[in-house]
C-alpha cells in the first residue's frame, strides 16, 4: 500500500483539497493570483496522485464484496461508542479503499476538479470563498468515491452538498437562489431516504467483533453485502422480502435524484443554467456520476434480489431518460439548458447499461460515466467560453462562429460528435457496450432506446448548425477566439476522448474484474431470490 507521511494515498487524495482550502483561507482575500494558483497546485497534485493510483492499480483484483479485493485500503476505527443501552455499540470506521468500480471515478474527479479550477479563473466575486468551497466540494466528491464505510459515505455525500449549495447560490446566475435551494432540497430529500435505508441496514447487519467476540452492528459496506451477516429476524434479513424492496427503493430514490432519473430531474436544468461554468462542469462531470456509482456500489451488491426484480423498471427508466431527455433537449433555446437535458439523456444510457446486469452493459455504463464526465465537461466549458464572450446563451442569437473562432470550433466539433456517439470518440464505445449489454437482457427496450441515438444526433447537429454554421451576425464580429487557458482545459479532455474512443482497453482493463464480480454477485444471489419465490 502506498503511503506518505504515514497516511494512505487515498487519504491524501481526499484531504489534499481540504489542506488547500485551509491555505486558501489563510491567504489575504486580495491576493487573487495566489489563491487561484494555490487551488490549481493542490488539485494538480491530486491529478498526479490519481495518476499514481492508476499506475499502481492492480487490474486483477476484484473488489466489490471482499475486503481482500480492494486496493489502497485504509481502515481505522473512527467513532466507537459503547454501551448505549438502546442503540447498541456504535462503531463507525474510517474505511477507504477502491476497486474497479471507483478507480475511474477517482481519476475523473481529480481531473475535473483540476479543470474546474482553471474554468474558475475569471471569477471575481469573493474569490477566496469561492475557491475554498470549490476545494471542499472536491474533497467531498472524492470522499464519496473512496469510502467503504456507509456512514463515512453518507458524511461525504452530505459534505459535498453544502459547498455546492453556496457555489450555485452565491456565484450563480440571476435565479441562483431558486436553483440552489431546489438543488439542495432535492438532494436532501434523496439523502434522507438514503439515510433511512442506511439505518435500516445498520440495524440489520452485524459482524463479530474480533476484540470482544460479540456481535456488533456495523456500517461496513462490505459486511452489508454478505447475506450471512444479516441478523436473523432483522428488518432486512432474508431474500426478496417487502422490506428489502422498500430499502432498495429508498436507496434508489436517493441515488436517482442525483443521477437524475426521470421524474426527479427537474433540479438539473435549473442548477446548470444558474451555476457558473466551473460548477456546471463539476455538476455534470462528477456529481451526476455519484448517483449511478451509488447504485452500482451500494444498491446492486447489497440488494441483488431487488436489483433483479426491478431490472425491467430500471431499464424502462433508462429508456425514458434517454428519449425524454433528448426530446426535451431538442426544444431548448438556451445552450446550457440544452446541454443539461442532453446530460439527462446520456445518463439514461448509464442506467440502461447497468440495468442489463451483465458484463458488457455494466462495463458500458461505467465507461459511459467516465466518458460522459469528460464529454459533458467539454460541452459546458464550451458554453462557458461563449458565454464569457457574448454574455448570452441563446442558441438562436449565434451563427457562423466556425469562421470567427476556428480553434474553438475545432474543439467543439470533437465534443459535439463525441456527445452524439461518433465512433472513434469515447462516447460511442460506452454507448455501444451499454446497448449491446442491454440488448442481451431486454431486447425490446434496448431497441426502443436506440431511437435516442438518432434524436441525439438531431439536436446536437441542429445546435451545431445554429451556433457555428451559417453566417455570423454583425454583433459578434469581434469575438476573440479561444485563449490559451481555455485550450489548456479543453485539449486534455479532447485527447482523452479520442484515446478512449480508439482504444478503450486502458479504462476497461481497470474495471473488468470488478464488474465481473459484481455481475456474478447480482446474478447468483438474484437468481436465488427468484428460485425462492
Amino acid at each position: 500500500m502506498m503511503q506518505f507521511l504515514g497516511l494512505g494515498i487515498l487519504t491524501w487524495i481526499t484531504f489534499l483539497p481540504v489542506a488547500g482550502m485551509a491555505v486558501v483561507l489563510l491567504l489575504g482575500k486580495d491576493n487573487k493570483q495566489a489563491i487561484r494558483w494555490t487551488a490549481a497546485v493542490f488539485t494538480g497534485i491530486q491529478v498526479v496522485i490519481a495518476a499514481l493510483i492508476y499506475m499502481g492499480f492492480d487490474r486483477g483484483m476484484s473488489g466489490i464484496n471482499t475486503m481482500a479485493g480492494f486496493q489502497y485500503v485504509e481502515k481505522v476505527s473512527w467513532i466507537d461508542i459503547r454501551s448505549f443501552s438502546w442503540f447498541g455499540n456504535l462503531k463507525i470506521e474510517y474505511f477507504l479503499g477502491i476497486d474497479g468500480l471507483s478507480v475511474l471515478m477517482v481519476i475523473l474527479t481529480a481531473l475535473i476538479s483540476f479543470i474546474a479550477v482553471f474554468a474558475s479563473w475569471g471569477i471575481e466575486k469573493s474569490l477566496k470563498g469561492y475557491f475554498a468551497l470549490l476545494l471542499l466540494l472536491d474533497a467531498g466528491m472524492m470522499g464519496v468515491f473512496v469510502s467503504l464505510d456507509f456512514f463515512l459515505f453518507y458524511v461525504f455525500w452530505e459534505i459535498m452538498l453544502l459547498p455546492m449549495y453556496f457555489l450555485i447560490g452565491i456565484w450563480g446566475g440571476p435565479r441562483r437562489e431558486y436553483a440552489a435551494i431546489k438543488f439542495f432540497l432535492y438532494t436532501l430529500l434523496g439523502s434522507v431516504r438514503m439515510l433511512l435505508a442506511v439505518i435500516a441496514l445498520y440495524f440489520s447487519v452485524s459482524v463479530l467483533d474480533p476484540a470482544t467476540g460479540e456481535k456488533v452492528h456495523t456500517f461496513n459496506m462490505i459486511a452489508m453485502m454478505n447475506p450471512a451477516n444479516f441478523e436473523p429476524g432483522s428488518l432486512l434479513e432474508g431474500v426478496g422480502t417487502t422490506w428489502r424492496y422498500m430499502a432498495f427503493i429508498a436507496l434508489f430514490i436517493g441515488f436517482a435524484i442525483k443521477v437524475p432519473i426521470f421524474p426527479f430531474h427537474t433540479w438539473l436544468p435549473d442548477a446548470h443554467v444558474e451555476a457558473p461554468t466551473a460548477i456546471s462542469v463539476i455538476l455534470a462531470g462528477v456529481l451526476l456520476k455519484m448517483g449511478t456509482y451509488g447504485i452500482l456500489r451500494v444498491s446492486f451488491p447489497m440488494f441483488p434480489d431487488a436489483a433483479v426484480a426491478y431490472q425491467i423498471p430500471l431499464a424502462i427508466l433508462g429508456f425514458v431518460n434517454i428519449v425524454y431527455g433528448a426530446l426535451v433537449a431538442m426544444a431548448q433555446t438556451d445552450f446550457k439548458k440544452l446541454i443539461a437535458y442532453s446530460s439527462i439523456s446520456h445518463m439514461g444510457v448509464v442506467i440502461l447499461g447497468m440495468a442489463a446486469l451483465n458484463t458488457q452493459g455494466m462495463t458500458g455504463a461505467i465507461l459511459q460515466m467516465f466518458n460522459h464526465g469528460t464529454i459533458t465537461a467539454m460541452l459546458f466549458l464550451i458554453v462557458g467560453v461563449i458565454y464569457d464572450r457574448a454574455h448570452t446563451r441563446g442558441l438562436n442569437e449565434f451563427g457562423g462562429l466556425m469562421n470567427q473562432m476556428p480553434r474553438y470550433s475545432a474543439v467543439m466539433v470533437i465534443a459535439f460528435f463525441a456527445a452524439l456517439g461518433l465512433p472513434g470518440l469515447s462516447g460511442f464505445i460506452s454507448e455501444a457496450f451499454s446497448f449491446i449489454g442491454a440488448f442481451q437482457a431486454f431486447r425490446w427496450i434496448a431497441i426502443a432506446s436506440t431511437i435516442g441515438i438518432v434524436l441525439t444526433a438531431a439536436y446536437m447537429l441542429w445546435t451545431l448548425q445554429r451556433v457555428f454554421l451559417g453566417t455570423l451576425p454583425e454583433k459578434w464580429k469581434d469575438l476573440p477566439d479561444i485563449n490559451g487557458r481555455e485550450l489548456f482545459m479543453l485539449v486534455p479532455l479532447a485527447v482523452i476522448v479520442i484515446i478512449l474512443g480508439v482504444y478503450p482497453a486502458p479504462a476497461i482493463d481497470l474495471m473488468s474484474s470488478a464488474v465481473n464480480t459484481l455481475v456474478d454477485i447480482v446474478n447468483a444471489q438474484g437468481a436465488m431470490a427468484l428460485i425462492g419465490q
Binding site: W267, L327, M330, F439, Q465, N516
Partner: protein, 748 residues
C-alpha cells in the same frame, strides 16, 4: 511484403494526410494539396499492388486480428474478448482500388475546381479522413469496425456537404444527410446486436462459420432474417435507398468533386458493399426484401430524374437509381453482377459528376464575368457547351453511353449481367416485377441521361452573350475525366464486349456460399447461374431495346424537338408536378416524422417545465403554505397553480372515496351512516384545503420561500450571521425546536 501490411499502409496513409493537413496544412505551401495528392497516389499504387497479388491467387482472405478489449472472466460466459481486425479478400481488394482511384482523381480534380476556396486545406484534409474511413469499411473483417467506418464516412460526408456552411441550404443538407443516415444506422446497429447476442463476436468469418454450423441468432430463423434486414437498413441509409434516399439529392450542396467521390462512387456504394459482405448470412426473405427495396428505389429515382433541371440533381437521382440497381442485383442473388456494377458505376458516375463539375465551373466563371446571378447548375441556362468544352463533352458522352448501357462500354457489361440476374430471379422465384422494373429503369436511365447531354452540350447556348466567356477547364480537371472515360471502356473489365463471364472480375468474385439454414436459403448458386446463363441473350436484346428507345425519345424530344416536352408536361400536369417535387417524399417526412418529433419536443418541454416541475414547486409551496399559513394572496397564479388545484381536487376526491370505503367497511360505524358521511366529507374537504392553500401563486411563493429558506439553511448550519435573510432566522429556530421536540417524542 504481405498483402495485409500493404493494405494497412493504404488504410493509414489517408489518415496521415488528414492529420497533417488539419494541424499544419495551412502553413504548407499551396495549402498542402500536393501532400494529399501524393499520399493518395501512393495509396493507389499500393492498392493496385494488392489487387495484383490477390487476383488469380487463392480466394481466402489475408487476415490481421488483434484483441481490442478484454472483458476478463465473464460470469456465465467465460473469457470474453472483443477481437477486431482487418481482412483483405478479393472483394476488399477491388473495392480498395476503386476507392483509391476515385479518391486520387478527385484530389487531382479538386486542385483545379476548389482553387481559391476559403477552406482549401481543410477540404483536402476532409477528403483524407473520408478516404481513411471508407477504406476502413472496405478492409474490416468485423461488424464493429464496419459500423465505426460507417459512421466516420457519415462524419466526413457531413463535413464535406457542409463545406460551404455559410449557406443555410448546405448546412441543412449536411445535417439531413447525417440524421437520415443515422436512422439507417440504428437499424444496422440493432442487427449487429442481434448477431452479437448469439455469437458474442463481431467478426464476419466467425459468425458465418457458426451459422454454417447451424447456429441461428436467438435460436430462430425469423431473427436471422430480421438481422439481415436490419443490417441492410444501414445500407438503405448509406446507399440512399427508398425510403431513406432523401438525403442524397440534397447532399449535392457540397462541392461537386465531393459529390463525385462520396455521393456517387464510394460512400454511397458502401451500402452495396455491406450487402455484399454480409451476403452469405442473408436468408431468402431478406434477399427478397433487399431486391424489392432496390427495385423500388431504382424506379422512383429514375422517374424523378426525368423532371429535374439541375444538372447535379439529375445525376444525384441517377445515382440513387443506379444504387437501387446494384442493391436489386445483390438482392436477386446476382452477387458478382451487383458488385461489378458498383465498380463500373463508380468510374462513370464519378466521371459524370466531375464532368458536370467541369461544366458548372465554366458556367460559374462565365456568369461571374457577365454578372449574371442565375443558377450555374440549371440545364436550362446551358446548351451548346460542346463547342467550347470538347474534352468535357466527349468524356461526358462516354460516361452517358456507359450508364445507358450501350455496348462496348463497361456499363453495358455490368448492367447486362445485373438484368440477366433479375430475369433469372424472376424465372426461379416468380417475382417478375423485379425484371420488369429493371428494364423499365434501363430505358428511363437512357432517356434522362441523354436529355441531360442534349440540353447541356447541344444546340445553342441559352444566353448568347455568355458563350464567349465559357472556357474549357484546366488540365488538372481534364486528366481525371479522361482517365475515367478510358476506364469506361469494356476492355479493362472483360475482353469479351458482350459478356463478363470468364473475365478476371467474375473469377475473382464468385458468389459466396450461403451459410443460412437450408430451409431459408435462397436459390442455389449453381441453379441460379444456370438460369442466368439462359437469360443472357434475351437480356441483351431487351436492354438494348429499352436503352435505344430511351435514347431515341430523348433525341426526338430535345434534339429534333419533334416532341414538345413542355406540351407533354402540360398534358399531364399532375404527373409532372409529382415528379418535379420528387414524389412529395420530403414534404411527407416534414409533415410526419419531423413535424411530429418537433411537436413532441415542444409538448414534452411544456410538460417538463409546467407539470413535472410544477409538481415540485407546488409541493414546495403548499409545504410553505401549511407551515406559514396562507397569508398572501398572489394574483399571478401560473398554470401550474391551476394544475395543482385540479390535481388537488382529484386527490381529494380519491382520498375521500378511499376514506369513505374504509369507514363504511368497519363493522360498527361510529355514529352510523351520518357519521361516516361526515367523516368522508371532512377528509375530502381537508385534502382539498391542503392543496388549495398551496395553490397560491407558485413562482413568487416559491422564490420568496427560497430566499427565506436560504436563511433558514444558512442559519441551520451555523452561518446565521453570514446570511441574515429577512430576519426569519428566529422562525427557523422554531423549526429546529419543533424538530427537537418531534425527535424527543419519537424516541422517547
Amino acid at each position: 511484403m504481405p498483402v495485409i501490411d500493404i493494405s494497412l499502409a493504404v488504410l493509414l496513409l489517408p489518415l496521415a494526410s488528414f492529420t497533417i493537413l488539419i494541424f499544419v496544412g495551412k502553413r504548407l505551401p499551396r495549402g498542402g494539396d500536393w501532400l494529399g495528392l501524393t499520399l493518395l497516389t501512393a495509396c493507389l499504387g499500393l492498392s493496385f499492388a494488392v489487387l495484383y497479388q490477390r487476383v488469380g491467387g487463392p480466394l481466402a482472405a489475408d487476415v490481421l486480428r488483434f484483441n481490442w478489449v478484454d472483458f476478463g472472466d465473464v460470469p456465465l460466459i467465460g473469457h470474453l474478448q472483443v477481437q477486431l481486425g482487418f481482412a483483405v479478400d478479393n472483394l476488399a481488394a477491388i473495392m480498395m482500388v476503386v476507392v483509391c482511384l476515385v479518391s486520387t482523381l478527385v484530389h487531382l480534380f479538386s486542385i483545379g475546381y476548389m482553387h481559391g476556396d476559403v477552406r482549401y486545406t481543410r477540404y483536402f484534409a476532409y477528403l483524407g479522413i473520408f478516404t481513411f474511413s471508407m477504406l476502413m469499411i472496405v478492409l474490416t473483417d468485423n461488424f464493429f469496425l464496419m459500423y465505426v467506418g460507417w459512421e466516420l464516412v457519415g462524419l466526413s460526408s457531413y463535413l464535406l456537404i457542409g463545406h460551404w456552411y455559410e449557406k443555410k441550404s448546405a448546412s441543412d443538407a449536411a445535417k439531413k444527410a447525417f440524421i437520415v443516415n443515422r436512422i439507417g444506422d440504428i437499424g444496422m446497429f440493432t442487427g449487429i446486436m442481434i448477431l452479437y447476442f448469439t455469437f458474442r463476436t463481431f467478426t464476419f468469418d466467425d459468425i458465418f462459420a457458426m451459422m454454417a454450423a447451424g447456429t441461428v441468432p436467438m435460436g430462430s430463423e425469423a431473427w436471422l432474417t430480421a438481422a439481415g434486414v436490419l443490417i441492410f437498413c444501414g445500407a438503405v441509409g448509406k446507399s440512399a435507398q427508398f425510403p431513406l434516399h432523401v438525403w442524397l439529392p440534397d447532399a449535392m450542396e457540397g462541392p461537386t468533386p465531393v459529390s463525385a467521390l462520396i455521393h456517387a462512387a464510394t460512400m454511397v456504394a458502401a451500402g452495396v458493399f455491406l450487402v455484399a459482405r454480409t451476403f452469405p448470412m442473408m436468408t431468402a426473405d431478406a434477399l427478397t426484401v433487399i431486391a424489392y427495396v432496390g427495385a423500388v428505389t431504382a424506379f422512383v429515382a429514375a422517374t424523378i430524374a426525368i423532371a429535374q433541371n439541375d444538372i447535379k440533381k439529375v445525376l444525384a437521382y441517377s445515382t440513387v437509381s443506379q444504387l437501387g440497381y446494384m442493391v436489386m442485383g445483390l438482392g436477386v442473388g446476382a452477387y458478382t453482377a451487383g458488385f461489378f456494377h458498383l465498380s463500373t458505376h463508380a468510374m462513370f458516375k464519378a466521371g459524370l459528376f466531375l464532368g458536370s463539375g467541369s461544366v458548372i465551373h465554366a458556367m460559374h466563371h462565365a456568369m461571374h464575368e457577365t454578372h449574371d446571378h442565375g443558377d450555374p447548375q440549371d440545364v436550362r441556362n446551358m446548351g451548346g457547351m460542346k463547342k467550347v468544352m470538347p474534352v468535357t463533352f466527349l468524356t461526358f458522352l462516354m460516361f452517358t453511353l456507359a450508364i445507358s448501357g450501350v455496348p462496348f462500354t463497361s456499363g453495358f457489361l455490368s448492367k447486362d449481367e445485373l438484368l440477366a440476374g433479375s430475369l433469372a430471379f424472376g424465372q426461379t422465384t416468380g417475382h417478375y416485377l423485379i425484371p420488369v422494373i429493371g428494364f423499365l429503369v434501363a430505358g428511363l436511365t437512357a432517356f434522362y441521361m441523354f436529355r441531360l447531354v442534349f440540353l447541356t452540350f447541344f444546340g445553342d447556348h441559352a444566353e448568347a452573350g455568355r458563350a464567349e466567356h465559357l472556357r474549357e477547364s484546366p488540365a488538372s480537371m481534364k486528366i481525371p475525366l479522361i482517365v475515367f472515360a478510358v476506364l469506361s471502356f469494356f476492355v479493362f473489365w472483360s475482353f469479351n464486349p458482350f459478356g463478363s463471364a470468364g473475365s478476371w472480375f467474375a473469377d475473382a468474385l464468385p458468389r459466396p456460399e450461403s451459410v443460412v439454414p437450408a430451409t431459408v436459403r435462397a436459390a442455389d448458386a449453381a441453379e441460379f447461374a444456370e438460369a442466368m446463363h439462359h437469360a443472357h441473350v434475351p437480356t441483351i436484346v431487351l436492354s438494348l431495346l429499352f436503352a435505344g428507345l430511351g435514347i431515341l425519345i430523348a433525341f426526338l424530344t430535345y434534339r429534333k424537338k419533334s416532341i414538345n416536352a413542355d406540351a407533354v408536361a402540360a398534358k399531364f400536369p399532375g404527373v409532372h408536378r409529382f415528379l418535379l417535387n420528387k414524389w412529395y417524399i420530403d414534404e411527407l417526412y416534414d409533415a410526419t416524422a419531423v413535424g411530429w418529433t418537433l411537436a413532441t419536443t415542444r409538448v414534452l418541454n411544456w410538460i417538463d417545465a409546467n407539470i413535472i416541475d410544477g409538481l415540485v414547486n407546488g409541493t414546495a409551496s403548499w409545504t410553505r403554505a401549511i407551515v406559514f399559513g396562507y397569508d398572501e394572496h398572489r394574483k399571478d397564479t401560473a398554470i401550474s397553480a391551476r394544475f395543482f388545484l385540479v390535481t388537488g381536487l382529484v386527490v381529494a376526491v380519491l382520498t375521500a372515496w378511499w376514506a369513505g370505503e374504509w369507514v363504511f367497511s368497519l363493522e360498527n360505524v361510529p355514529g352510523g351512516w351520518f357519521g361516516a358521511g361526515v367523516f368522508t366529507m371532512l377528509v375530502g374537504v381537508l385534502t382539498l384545503f391542503f392543496f388549495w392553500s398551496g395553490a397560491g401563486g407558485f413562482d413568487r411563493y416559491v422564490v420568496d420561500g427560497m430566499v427565506n429558506g436560504t436563511a433558514y439553511l444558512s442559519g441551520f448550519f451555523g452561518l446565521l450571521l453570514r446570511k441574515f435573510q429577512s430576519g426569519r432566522v428566529q422562525t427557523y429556530i422554531i423549526f429546529v425546536l419543533m424538530g427537537v421536540m418531534v425527535i424527543f417524542y419519537l424516541i422517547r
